[in-house]
């Protein structure tokens, strides 16, 4: 019984990391109906941004976080205009191959520029452990979890109550109708892509003090983010957060009770099971993948 608080805390913190990555992914899918296979590589680029800011300029990752959001936003905006805009009206297959190609290109650019060696952001507080009763956790992971919850809430509020958010939702519901109503859907798409990339950029900067930085680090996280996004319902912000916590629960508790070797099997079985019962995911709208196209 004494391990339950620790298992609960570990689940929350791990789920927070997954959610932070998943919200950007689900935003892009929800509005644009594009599955971004390069999502993990934007995470990697942001981790390198935190690493180089720390190494060359001595900037703490949390300072970098504030400064990097506009940088990563511009990076996302540029990548949309250079890579995605030409294929935005093409078939899903073309879009999938484009984002997969972007992913491979970014990985290899990182490999050429920064080598395959793992890099580390060793801040003065990297080993600070917070103890709460019988549970212990890393301070940087706690911050990542808090930001995940805040980012999800902020995105939710932005989409719900801001004028730009309404434009995004309108475009998500029916691109042609939105266009007829005078909405510049091209602009909405580039904004959505840039905001989605900025979200995963925030995740990358926050993860840099916790995990090693190397060119393929994105792959380590992004598969689980895809599972969370589909499980929560494509395009559903709160669904992605809750699904991330569910996946983390299965991983942490399953590892403890049954065995670590089983954890991938367990969450993928759960994933398949839920999709059999609810093909649109836990909170998704049936046929969401076709809406707006």
């Amino acid at each position: 019984m004494h391990v339950i608080p620790q298992l609960a805390v570990s689940t929350l913190l791990l789920g927070g990391i997954y959610a932070l990555i998943a919200v950007g992914l689900t935003l892009i899918f929800g509005v644009m109906r594009v599955v971004n296979f390069a999502h993990g590589e934007f995470l990697m680029l942001a981790m390198y941004l935190a690493f180089w800011s720390f190494t060359l300029l001595g900037l703490d990752p949390y300072v970098t976080l504030v400064l990097s959001v506009p940088v990563i936003f511009v990076m996302g905006w540029s990548s949309y205009h250079i890579v995605m805009r030409p294929v935005i009206n093409a078939s899903h297959n073309v879009q999938v191959f484009t984002t997969v190609g972007l992913s491979i290109a970014l990985q290899n650019v990182a490999l050429v520029l920064w080598t395959a060696d793992a890099q580390f952001v060793r801040t003065s507080y990297y080993s600070v452990v917070v103890r709460l009763g019988s549970a212990a956790f890393n301070l940087a992971q706690l911050v990542a979890f808090a930001v995940a919850v805040l980012a999800t809430a902020a995105l939710f509020a932005f989409l719900r109550w801001s004028y730009t958010g309404k434009l995004m939702r309108a475009t998500a519901q029916d691109r042609q109708a939105a266009s007829l109503m005078g909405i510049d859907t091209g602009r909405v798409y580039s904004l959505t892509w840039a905001v989605g990339v900025a979200c995963v950029g925030v995740a990358g900067v926050l993860l840099a003090p916790v995990y090693p930085v190397y060119p393929t680090v994105g792959l380590q996280f992004v598969l689980i983010a895809y599972v969370s996004v589909v499980l929560g319902g494509l395009g559903d912000m709160a669904g992605a957060l809750i699904a991330s916590l569910i996946v983390a629960t299965v991983e942490v508790v399953g590892s403890y009770v049954i065995g670590t070797a089983w954890k991938e099997i367990l969450y993928l079985l759960l994933f398949i099971g839920i999709l059999v019962v609810r093909p649109a995911g836990l909170f998704g709208q049936r046929g969401a993948e076709a809406i707006g196209t």
């Binding site: 395959a116 793992a118 080993s127 090693p212 393929t216 689980i224 403890y256 670590t260 954890k263």
Partner: protein, 425 residues
């Protein structure tokens, strides 16, 4: 006219350069080139170690060409393939054999790659020369042109238990059969073969008590659950076989969870045996052991004269090229390539049958090769495990230093038992 002058100048420069090249080659006594295929994962998840292995190969190649007469009197050159995963490893092995026309392929560092690469090489009828992967199945598939210079996974497991029983037990004031061991490992054939061999020997030969066994995928993002289980088991020793990022994750989370164990023992140039581990933690890395090739503290004079000669030359070359101390990846790759040179020089041909005869005839006692290795291949192409001398290194103040066998080193193992996390300084 102006163009003609420029053209003449360029031709002149090229001719001088070519002439100089021929002169240098003639002076070094090498006539012609001999190309082999080198397969390493230089992109993807395994790239950090793969690049280190390739670097080790290149440094040894240059050393062989500059100071040891090339191979078969020719300048050794490489055609390099990127073995990012098993599928690509197989297709690159095929490309090296068919397009590059090589008769020998060496590589591939990882146990996840060597099986596929060697199968593809065998299909093309070329020799496959493994320098690093330890999957025991590599040399047990009836492929007669497959060779491995490194110890296999069973050898790693054997050595680790030897160290625990013969060194750690008495330092901990216990008999081997009083020791409680927990086994934790990543789940590839590398981790499984080392762990299962260690478990078997520990139980059958020394009667050590096993508190638990746990396997995981090395790309895992969280190991807290495992650590909680280990805390419940209270082992004396943790036998942990890891890749790079999982060793770092485990050590960080073990510290957070205040998991205390008397010793952590690993085998291989990854995980606790990789420079990345020290880079991640600095002095907080102090304590764990890794069974690899010898590092600082190693008494080179303990080797035979021919072993000393190549050991010194290679260490100096690595230091000159990288600016750093030699790493396990360099030693595995360099050691394997050095033995390949010796076999080729003896065979004087890459004809598979004559090459095999030369490989089987090679009989080098321990201490005569790089890393203090000896060579005696068995009928399956596996180098004799007892001749591939291995050493236990320990992280001490940001450096992996040689601590065992004690007759080979000036340094001694510290922090036995490990003690509290903040007192390992």
């Amino acid at each position: 006219m102006r163009h003609a002058k420029w053209l003449a100048a360029v031709i002149g420069v090229v001719a001088v350069a070519l002439g100089a090249g021929v002169l240098v080659q003639a002076q070094s006594g090498l006539s012609g080139e001999y190309k082999i295929g080198v397969l390493e994962p230089v992109t993807g998840n395994l790239a950090a170690e793969g690049k280190r292995h390739l670097e080790g190969m290149e440094i040894m190649r240059d050393l062989i060409n500059e100071r040891f007469g090339g191979v078969m009197g020719k300048k050794l050159t490489f055609a390099v393939g990127d073995a990012v995963d098993p599928t690509v490893a197989a297709s690159e092995a095929t490309r090296l054999a068919t397009r590059e026309g090589v008769k020998i392929i060496t590589g591939t560092f990882s146990s996840t790659l060597c099986g596929a690469a060697s199968e593809a090489a065998a299909r093309q009828g070329v020799i496959y020369w493994e320098t690093s992967c330890v999957d025991p199945r590599l040399t047990k598939r009836g492929l007669k042109n497959v060779y491995r210079t490194e110890i296999d996974g069973t050898g790693f497991g054997w050595y680790n238990i030897e160290f625990i029983a013969k060194h750690l037990a008495h330092r901990l004031g216990k008999k081997p059969n009083e020791l409680k061991i927990a086994y934790l490992s990543e789940d590839s054939s590398y981790g499984q073969s080392v762990t299962e061999t260690a478990r078997q020997r520990a139980k059958q030969e020394f009667g050590m008590q096993e508190t638990g066994v746990e396997y995981y995928t090395f790309t895992t993002n969280d190991l807290t659950s495992v650590i909680l289980k280990l805390k419940g088991q209270q082992p004396d020793i943790l036998h942990h076989i890891a890749r790079n990022q999982d060793a770092i994750l485990f050590w960080r989370q073990a510290r957070e969870q205040n998991f205390e164990v008397k010793a952590v023992v690993h085998a291989g140039a990854t995980g606790y045996g990789s420079p990345d581990f020290g880079k991640a933690f600095g002095n907080d890395a102090n304590g764990p052991f890794a069974l690899i090739e010898p590092g600082p503290g190693f008494v080179i004079e303990k080797l035979r004269p021919e072993g000393q000669r190549i050991e010194r030359a290679y260490r100096d070359a690595v230091k000159a090229k990288t600016g750093n101390e030699i790493a396990g990846g360099h030693q595995l790759a360099g050691g394997g390539l050095w033995v390949l040179k010796l076999v080729l020089d003896a065979a004087k041909t890459d004809d598979p049958d004559k090459f095999r005869a030369a490989a089987m005839a090679l009989d080098m006692p321990t201490g005569t090769g790089l890393n203090g290795w000896g060579v005696k291949f068995d009928e399956y192409g596996q180098n004799s495990n007892p001749r591939v001398q291995h050493y236990m290194l320990q992280w001490q103040n940001g450096q992996l230093v040689t601590v065992w066998p004690e007759e080979f080193t000036t340094l001694r193992a510290k922090w036995i038992p490990l003690g509290p996390w903040d007192q390992r300084k």
